[in-house]
């Protein structure tokens, strides 16, 4: 019996993926777990493994095709078995169509590379009881909203349980609708002819770049950020790191400053479960596991989060080795799905770039993100009142004000600072 290979859903907001290449051909024998294709999502290039053993019967999608999540891209079955002819072809579209110039469709609905507006992705004002994060809207309301480019997350529902009904979308001012910046990275950009000329180059945004843009606009549009900054004495932590690394000769086992920060953030979050959470409208989902997303800059531009799972529980050395491996593969575009999904809190570290201090944008639906600058020699007032030289690192937490307030964020930063300044606790 031929089994379909389907376009997997590799993230909660993934609607479709691009087939990059097949690593098998029709007729090849495959075992369960074999890599058969590479798929590009908005976030990364990912290797797809087959979940069934057999022979490749049919490859439905070709390189560059964009296929909807859940649609078949090929079939695996018994050797010599006929490929199912009666299957509908996948919802494949030539990649070129998807890459139409951004400005061309300014007032049109969101480009198909973007997910359905705000469904579970951005914080939403209206939620169903059973499905936190899902907008409750009737089918006809959804259709009309789609036709008019109305972002349902901005519509107030008047139906039972706050359901958005037809009348609500019909009453929604249409002239506002095209603004819908939630899904339109370019919405704030002036609409008009793109300037061209000999003195300039026009660069088409990559899907990753667009995706980052969409998410960041979503975040800045909906998430009320506030920021709390503190300066941390890192002399002890740096000394400890030096000491630890001096004892290992294998480069791949060395511990980075970032590993210490991730570990400290994770241990601090144990005491602040409110910040280890996702915000879904009327519901806050607190996680019992602490998975720290680590922002990784990619060589071609853009960034993705790799996730240090159970960072509070994983021994520092083991976590450091995993992080190093994931980050390297992320830069090669070869991370696995579960390495970029499921973060409960994020850390962004620009210390290696000698940045004094910065504030990061929250990655919704997470409640916060910690931005860390470089450890720098600075003049400090010593205990006896005289001036001296100290090592200081400034860290800033960005917090969703719907989830928490300044006092809790300040407490978090104090606890985080205490941990870094007493770094032996990071080894416990």
């Amino acid at each position: 019996m031929a089994q379909p290979i389907i376009m997997p859903k590799l993230g909660f907001d993934m609607a479709e993926g691009t087939l990059i290449t097949w690593t098998v051909a029709v007729g090849d024998a495959v075992s369960k777990g074999d890599v058969i294709a590479e798929i590009e999502t908005d976030k990364a290039t990912i290797e797809i493994e087959t979940t069934v053993a057999g022979h490749v019967l049919q490859l439905l999608a070709g390189p560059g095709d964009i296929v909807a999540v859940g649609a078949p891209i090929g079939y695996v079955g018994a050797e010599g078995e006929a490929a199912p002819d009666d299957v509908a072809p996948p919802a494949a579209k030539p990649a070129a169509q998807e890459l139409a110039p951004a400005v061309e469709a300014a007032p049109a609905p969101a480009p198909s590379v973007s997910p359905a507006p705000a469904a579970g992705d951005a914080p939403v004002p209206v939620t169903g009881d059973k499905f936190p994060g899902r907008i409750k809207a009737s089918p006809v309301a959804r259709r009309i909203a789609d036709e008019r480019g109305i972002d349902l997350s901005r519509v107030t529902g008047s139906g039972p349980g706050g359901r958005i009904v037809k009348q609500d979308v019909e009453d929604f001012p249409v002239e506002e609708a095209p603004a819908a910046p939630v899904t339109e990275t370019r919405a704030p950009v002036p609409v008009g002819d793109i300037p061209t000329g000999p003195d300039m180059d026009t660069i088409e945004l990559s899907s990753l770049r667009r995706r980052i843009g969409q998410r960041m606009v979503q975040s800045k549009q909906y998430v009320p950020h506030f920021y709390v900054t503190t300066a941390i004495d890192v002399a002890g932590a740096l000394a400890l790191r030096q000491q630890l690394n001096a004892s290992v000769t294998d480069e791949t086992r060395k511990i980075s400053v970032n590993d210490l920060i991730v570990k400290a953030a994770a241990l601090t979050l144990r005491e602040f479960p409110n910040l280890n959470s996702h915000f879904y409208g009327d519901v806050l989902v607190r996680y019992n596991r602490i998975n720290i997303g680590i922002a990784v800059a990619l060589p071609g531009g853009g960034l993705i989060n790799v996730v240090a799972r159970d960072a509070d529980k994983t021994a520092l050395g083991a976590m450091a080795a995993q992080n190093r491996d994931m980050i390297a593969r992320a830069r090669d575009g070869k991370v696995k799905t579960d390495e970029i999904e499921g973060s409960t809190f994020s850390v962004s570290n620009l210390g290696p770039y000698d940045v004094e201090h910065f504030a990061a944008i929250i990655n919704p639906p997470e409640a916060g993100i910690l931005a860390v600058g470089a450890a720098q020699k600075v003049p400090v007032v010593l205990e006896d009142g005289s001036l001296g030289v100290g090592m200081r690192m400034r860290a800033t937490i960005s917090v969703d004000h719907r989830v928490s307030d300044g006092a809790e964020a300040a407490e978090f930063m104090k606890a985080f600072k205490d941990l870094i300044e007493n770094p032996m606790r990071l080894l416990m």
């Binding site: 009737s138 089918p139 006809v140 309301a141 259709r143 139906g159 009904v165 037809k166």
Partner: protein, 326 residues
């Protein structure tokens, strides 16, 4: 042609009389249809007018009535068999479902069964659980059998004449509490309505009420009251459960985006279930609210008058359902 208001009973009598004059193969058989003039007096005077060869009293055996009628129809006559109430049709199920509905198919079209079985349906008259069913939907389950469920005198006459003239077996279901309802009916021997056509009984933009038979009465009363509150219900009268004509329902739903289905059937596996399924399948993107059903309660109909009426639909229940979807 002047239409004059007559009762459903008169409309049925007129249809039978006209068709018996028109085609001598048409004859009536059933319990007490002759000497007594019919349990509901639809065939009063027929015995005198047409004679006992064409108006035949039968034994109290529904299997005999339905079975003999099927045989007569196969042999070339056009029987109009009367089963006193649809509750007794359960006894004749084999003749109706396995014979009348299947013979044309089983014998590769060599036989037609131009049979009409007239019967009455419905509760609300304190006849107890076994004599108060409205089980038309059971018979509509089977391909091969038409099921007519008129709700006005106009429809009763035009549909019965159509049923008698058609070569397919038809179960013609009259509601026992509606025989006195009056409406204008063309006084025309050739007034025949098409088989399998629904009818918009009232126009409105706010909600679609789909109904038939007794439900039409409840729905009309509900719609009158709703109109006083500014809510305009569109009423689609199915008239036939088979062939089922949902085009007017779909068209109406595209306009209103909301639907309530009203019927006297029990709630499980009923007409509303079928229509709701088809609506969501065909017009998912037009739905603005869940589809609601008004039906009898899921229990054997109680004998006590007050409790019996509680268990049945009524206009207030229709109003409540409409307000739930608005």
């Amino acid at each position: 042609m002047a239409d004059r208001p007559i009762t459903i009973r008169e409309a049925l009598s007129a249809a039978l009389r006209e068709e018996m004059h028109r085609d001598e193969r048409v004859f009536i058989m059933g319990e007490e249809v002759g000497v007594w003039g019919g349990t509901y007096a639809v065939t009063r005077g027929f015995l005198e007018e047409f004679g006992e060869k064409r108006v035949r009293d039968t034994p109290i055996s529904e299997m005999v009535i339905a079975g003999a009628a099927v045989g007569a129809a196969m042999a070339g006559l056009r029987p109009v068999a009367e089963i006193m109430t649809i509750n007794f049709a359960f006894v004749a199920m084999d003749a109706i479902i396995n014979h009348a509905a299947k013979i044309h198919y089983m014998f590769n079209g060599q036989f037609n069964v131009p049979l009409v079985i007239r019967t009455t349906t419905g509760g609300g008259k304190q006849l107890g659980a076994t004599h108060s069913h409205a089980p038309e939907v059971i018979f509509a389950h089977f391909p091969g059998l038409y099921v007519a469920v008129p709700g006005t005198a106009y429809d009763a006459k035009g549909m019965l004449k159509a049923a008698i003239r058609d070569d397919n077996p038809v179960l013609f279901v009259e509601h026992s509490t509606m025989l006195q309802r009056r409406s204008p009916v063309p006084d025309d021997d050739d007034f025949v309505l098409p088989i399998g056509k629904s009818d918009i009984k009232r126009e409105g933009d706010d909600v679609t009420i789909v109904t038939f038979g007794k439900g039409l009465e409840w729905s009309t009363e509900a719609a009158d009251q709703l109109a006083q509150e500014g809510i305009e219900a569109e009423i689609v009268d199915l008239r036939w459960l088979r062939p089922l004509d949902l085009e007017p329902v779909f068209e109406s739903f595209k306009k209103t985006n909301r639907c309530v289905i009203v019927e006297e059937s029990l709630p499980m596996f009923n007409v509303g279930a079928e229509i709701a399924a088809q609506l969501q399948n065909e017009l998912f993107d037009y739905m603005d609210a869940p589809i609601k059903r008004v039906a009898a309660m899921d229990l054997p109909l109680p004998y006590n008058r007050e409790i019996e009426l509680m268990a049945l639909p009524n206009p207030q229940k229709v109003i409540n359902a409409v307000k739930e979807v608005l």
